[in-house]
């Protein structure tokens, strides 16, 4: 019986000194001094994801600038949503690493679920899911990404480590809205 009584005494003391109340308030007060968690996106800050992030597809080139894609269509075969279409052609002018290159390589982003199977299937590491994630637009035209767009290097180079917040500028032009990150000015994320 005495143990139970002692417990009750502790409870009583806690109640008297408002322990729970202080605990809760300390969390609240803590946030007041820890600084902001909100990113000032898009006009000042932009989150640069980690390397493992799976964003917009990119088609890579080798060090000589030749397309790595050999249009083997394995990505389109592996795709669970059948959102990738590849049509091969022959071109031995040195456009690609082999004389088989893609005439058409397009991905339907509405269907894509960014699972990364295409990356895994690719025998030449030509297709990678990059770190561009601003895919929204005001009409459906941009949902279909063609080879030409995907061959343009993405805003975040492969070598960049990622997982940081970069300073950014917001540009609104007739061509569309763009958030441009400055990868030289980065900071750790605030949380």
């Amino acid at each position: 019986m005495s143990g139970k009584e002692r417990l009750n005494i502790f409870e009583l003391i806690k109640k008297v000194v408002f322990t729970d109340f202080v605990k809760g308030l300390s969390i609240t007060l803590g946030y007041n001094v820890r600084g902001s968690m909100t990113l000032k996106y898009p006009d000042q800050e932009k989150w640069i994801p980690y390397k493992r992030f799976r964003g917009l597809h990119t088609l890579n080139r080798d060090e000589n600038g030749r397309e790595l894609c050999v249009a083997c269509e394995l990505c389109s075969k592996a795709c669970p949503t059948q959102c990738i279409t590849v049509i091969p052609m022959e071109d031995d002018t040195g456009r690609g690493i082999s004389d088989r290159v893609a005439k058409v390589w397009k991905v339907d982003l509405v269907r894509c679920l960014f699972c990364g199977y295409c990356e895994d299937a690719c025998p030449t590491r030509a297709v990678r899911l990059g770190r561009d994630y601003e895919l929204a637009c005001s009409d459906s035209s941009c949902n279909l990404k063609q080879r030409e767009e995907l061959l343009v290097p993405q805003s975040v180079p492969e070598s960049f480590e990622g997982g940081v917040v970069a300073a950014s500028t917001f540009e609104a032009s007739p061509a569309g809205l763009r958030v441009k990150a400055d990868l030289t000015k980065t900071k750790k994320r605030p949380w």
Partner: protein, 838 residues
């Protein structure tokens, strides 16, 4: 019979059966690369090694026959490790560029490694490379030797089946490379059978190169639309464009073989020149119109023409379409004037049907080749029907038989023949008469009552042989072979239709041999996919469906044109037939057609005939319809629709029905299946023909499905075969060459001229004469020459052939730049021409 145990299961097989076949029959799988049923076994790939109890070493099952009491194991760890090790060796120097390789996805090496192979590589050395880049071996073949598994199937199929013998091996050991002589550009049959048998991506189709992956293709089983051999093949499309035709191992009478036309000639389907809208002539020009308008014009003009109307349907249409076409004319329009060929006279057709016994039901070419003596006459088989040529070559090499070839022109098949006879052009009849006379000489008693024997029995052997242009010894040798032991097979080709005077000779020989109590099997060798079907559906002025007699005999093509020029015939309905290009004497045809009040042409392309038409209807190709085609043997085979007809074009059966419906809404039946039902009901020959064999595989490799053969018509009488004669222009010093015509190896009619690949194989016209004649004229192979007839002259490239009979100039009927029918003049005989250097 031998009884053997395979993996403990007891099976009884014929003596001499290969262990491989026995095991496969028993349901055990044995992988192979170098084994192919139709080819000689070599046992080189070592994939099929099996364990036989009591033998130390593993044995190759593809060349080892079973012995009674053998106990064979095909799935022991030793066997499995042997398979894996063979695959490891093959992969050691394999290029492993599967992502780029066109075969990737349907590669036998991939499949086998996936199934049996080592899944980890141990070969860490640099690989030997034959060459860095794929090289073009011919206009249709591209080659990458780095992927080769050295199964030698390409070399063997080229030599044993195709007979071209242009492939061989260079180098030795792991540097051995199967290719042409020093990798030179191939000048061969271009049939691509080497591509088809290649288990890996070593031989590849050039037109198909880097177009797709096999899993993107949608295919349909169909039949080749060119000659009447009736090769089964699969055409495959991606995004609405047909990009490949392939044959399947063990399917159809052709198995994996096709000729250049079949394998590469499908691309006319995708031609941008295809007609897509109905056209109606307004103020002298053809302008696009709606179907309603076009059909309205047709109805008005057909009504105006009344019974003075004729119809010509192509022998490439399906049986259903042809049946409906004759029904439209006979029962709807009330006109008996229909024909299925612009080239042959109706009487000749009837005589030929009777002589070859087509009304007695289908006969299999394999049965014919089972005969002890086979005579091939009236056809240049190697060029006209290449796959029939393959069948003859393959079977004749495998058994002891007499193969006699009688032809004015030398051909590839000659090397398989036991006797070759070169006779004068258009002299098939004289040759066969001489042979019959020789047969008669020894069997007067038995042959006295053979009908028609009186025609020749008093002739002199030397006269007939002289007319045929061959020696009496040759004739006697043929007669001796035909009257010798065993049965007789005959392949009788289209020369008999071209020169109808020869038909009585064929009929007489057949009757004489039958009177001697011999089994005679005759295969008519035809050059249009459904020529036999067209006749059996009754698209002929002299007989109805199933060779049934007609009440009123109509006009054939020539008579219709005659009537048109005299104004008697007012309207003509031409379906997919180019009579301007095909009927002898082009000027006459043009004149006759312009004399018509109304001409409807239904075609896939703007043909020469269509340009003269009042209404042009866009029709569909073989890839766009369902139906059945009857090949030369009388085998009814299904074709299936792969694509919809382009834009506003329609299936021919729908167009024919729509034309009929403008007169009577109930004209039908409404779809091909119902038409076939009606054919089965109305035409006895087709009543019990089985079509249930689509994609049925021939496990016994006989490739002979007899249930598909049409049944006898049971109508012995009723065919009018009188007035058959061959007219030749008299020989003059001015025009020494008799003009022969037919199809070129790469082309069939004018349809194949719309195929870019086949045009790439042969674009410009060639004229062929014998090498001896050429050297007498001081001409060389490849020279540009002027061909001059009495009415037309043209320029072409000279092609010489050694071993042909002299005095014959051959120009195929396919070339639009040298329309061979312009040399002909109506009412005059087969023309003669002169050839001089241009």
């Amino acid at each position: 019979m031998s009884t053997v145990k395979i993996n403990g299961k007891e099976v009884t097989v014929k003596d001499g059966t290969l262990i491989l076949d026995a095991a496969r029959d028993a349901g055990f799988e044995i992988p192979t690369f170098c084994y192919q049923a139709d080819l000689m076994g070599v046992g080189s790939c070592r994939m099929c090694l099996v364990e036989i109890e009591g033998q130390k070493k593993l044995q190759p099952s593809c060349i080892t026959p079973v012995l009674h009491g053998m106990s064979i194991h095909t799935e022991t760890p030793t066997v499995m490790s042997a398979r894996a090790s063979m695959l490891e060796f093959l992969l050691a120097n394999h290029a492993l560029d599967c992502p780029v390789c066109d075969k990737g996805g349907e590669c036998e090496l991939q499949d086998m490694v996936y199934k049996y192979g080592p899944h980890k590589g141990r070969h860490a050395e640099p690989k030997f490379k034959f060459q860095e880049k794929d090289y073009v071996l011919s206009p249709v073949i591209i080659k990458n030797s780095n992927r080769c598994v050295q199964c030698m199937k390409c070399v063997r199929v080229c030599g044993e089946v195709v007979g071209a013998n242009v492939l061989g091996a260079l180098g030795r050991g792991d540097h051995q490379e199967e290719t042409s002589f020093l990798r030179s550009f191939l000048d061969c049959d271009q049939d691509g059978n080497c591509i088809e048998v290649c288990p890996v991506g070593c031989f590849m189709r050039l037109p198909y190169r880097y177009k797709t992956r096999p899993w993107d293709l949608k295919g349909k089983d169909t039949v080749c639309p060119y000659c009447a051999t009736g090769c089964r093949m699969v055409i495959e499309e991606r995004d609405g464009i047909v990009i490949r035709a392939k044959a399947q191992l063990g399917v159809g009478l052709n198995s994996e073989t096709l000729c250049a036309r079949g394998r590469f000639g499908f691309d006319f389907i995708n031609s941008p020149e295809r007609l897509t809208k109905p056209l109606v002539k307004r103020f002298g020009t053809l302008e696009p119109a709606s179907w309603e308008e076009a059909l309205g014009v047709i109805k008005d003009n057909f009504i105006a023409a009344g019974k003075n109307i004729g119809g010509i349907a192509s022998a490439r249409l399906t049986d259903e379409e042809l049946y409906l076409f004759q029904k439209l004319f006979r029962s709807m329009l009330g006109s008996p004037n229909i024909d299925s060929s612009a080239r042959w006279a109706p009487e000749a057709v009837e005589g030929f049907i009777k002589a070859t016994g087509m009304d007695e039901g289908g006969a299999s070419a394999f049965d014919c080749m089972e005969s002890d003596t086979v005579l091939i006459t009236g056809t240049h088989l190697s060029d006209e029907n290449p796959v029939t040529d393959y069948i003859v070559r393959r079977i004749s090499a495998g058994r002891a038989m007499n193969l006699v070839i009688a032809s004015p022109r030398a051909m590839k098949l000659d090397s398989s023949a036991s006797q070759i006879v070169r006779h004068n052009a258009a002299a098939e009849g004289h040759l066969l008469d001489a042979v019959t006379l020789s047969v008669y000489g020894g069997n007067v008693d038995k042959l006295r009552d053979v009908p028609g024997i009186n025609r020749i029995k008093d002739a002199r052997q030397d006269d007939l042989a002289g007319k045929a242009g061959c020696s009496a010894d040759d004739i006697k040798a043929i007669a001796r072979k035909l009257t010798g032991e065993g049965s007789v097979g005959l392949f009788a080709g289209t020369e008999f239709l071209r020169y109808p005077g020869s038909i009585p000779g064929l009929a007489l020989l057949k009757n004489a041999l039958k009177a001697l109590g011999k089994k005679v099997t005759i295969i008519p060798v035809l050059d249009r996919a459904n020529q036999r079907g067209a006749w059996e559906m009754g698209v002929h002025p002299g007989f109805g469906p199933g060779y049934s007699p007609v009440k009123e005999r109509g006009m054939g093509c020539a008579d219709m044109l005659e009537a048109a020029s005299s104004g008697e015939l007012q309207a003509l309905y031409v379906v997919q037939s180019d009579i301007v290009a095909m009927h002898p004497d082009e000027n006459f045809v043009r004149g006759a057609l312009s004399g018509l009040k109304f001409l409807v042409v239904q075609d896939c392309f703007m043909s020469e005939t269509a340009r003269l038409a009042n209404v042009v209807l866009p029709a569909s190709s073989f890839a766009e319809k369902d139906g059945i085609l009857t090949n030369q043997e009388g085998r009814a085979q299904i074709i299936r629709k792969l694509l919809p007809p382009p834009v506003k074009a329609k299936r021919d059966i729908d167009i024919i029905r729509a034309v009929g419906e403008t007169f009577d809404r109930s004209f039908g039946p409404k779809n091909p299946v119902l038409v076939l039902d009606e054919i089965r009901k109305e035409v006895g020959m087709y009543g019990e023909v089985s079509l249930a064999f689509n994609n049925k595989r021939n496990v016994d490799n006989k490739l002979d499905l007899k249930e598909a053969l049409v049944k006898p018509a049971g109508l012995a009488e009723g065919l009018n075969a009188s007035g058959l004669e061959t007219k030749l222009e008299p020989k003059t010093d001015e025009h020494p060459f008799l003009l022969a015509t037919g199809n070129h190896l790469f082309h069939s009619g004018r349809l194949s001229r719309k195929s870019p690949t086949l045009i790439g194989l042969l674009k410009n016209a060639i004229v062929e004469i014998s090498a001896e004649d050429a050297s007498a004229l001081g001409l060389m192979n490849g020279d540009k020459v002027r061909i001059k007839g009495r009415y037309y002259e043209a320029y072409a490239t000279l092609h010489t052939r050694s071993g042909s009979k002299g005095g014959v100039a051959f120009i195929a009927e396919n070339y639009d730049d040298v329309p061979v029918n312009r040399f002909f003049r109506r009412g005059e005989g087969v023309p003669r021409v002169s050839i001089t250097k241009a």
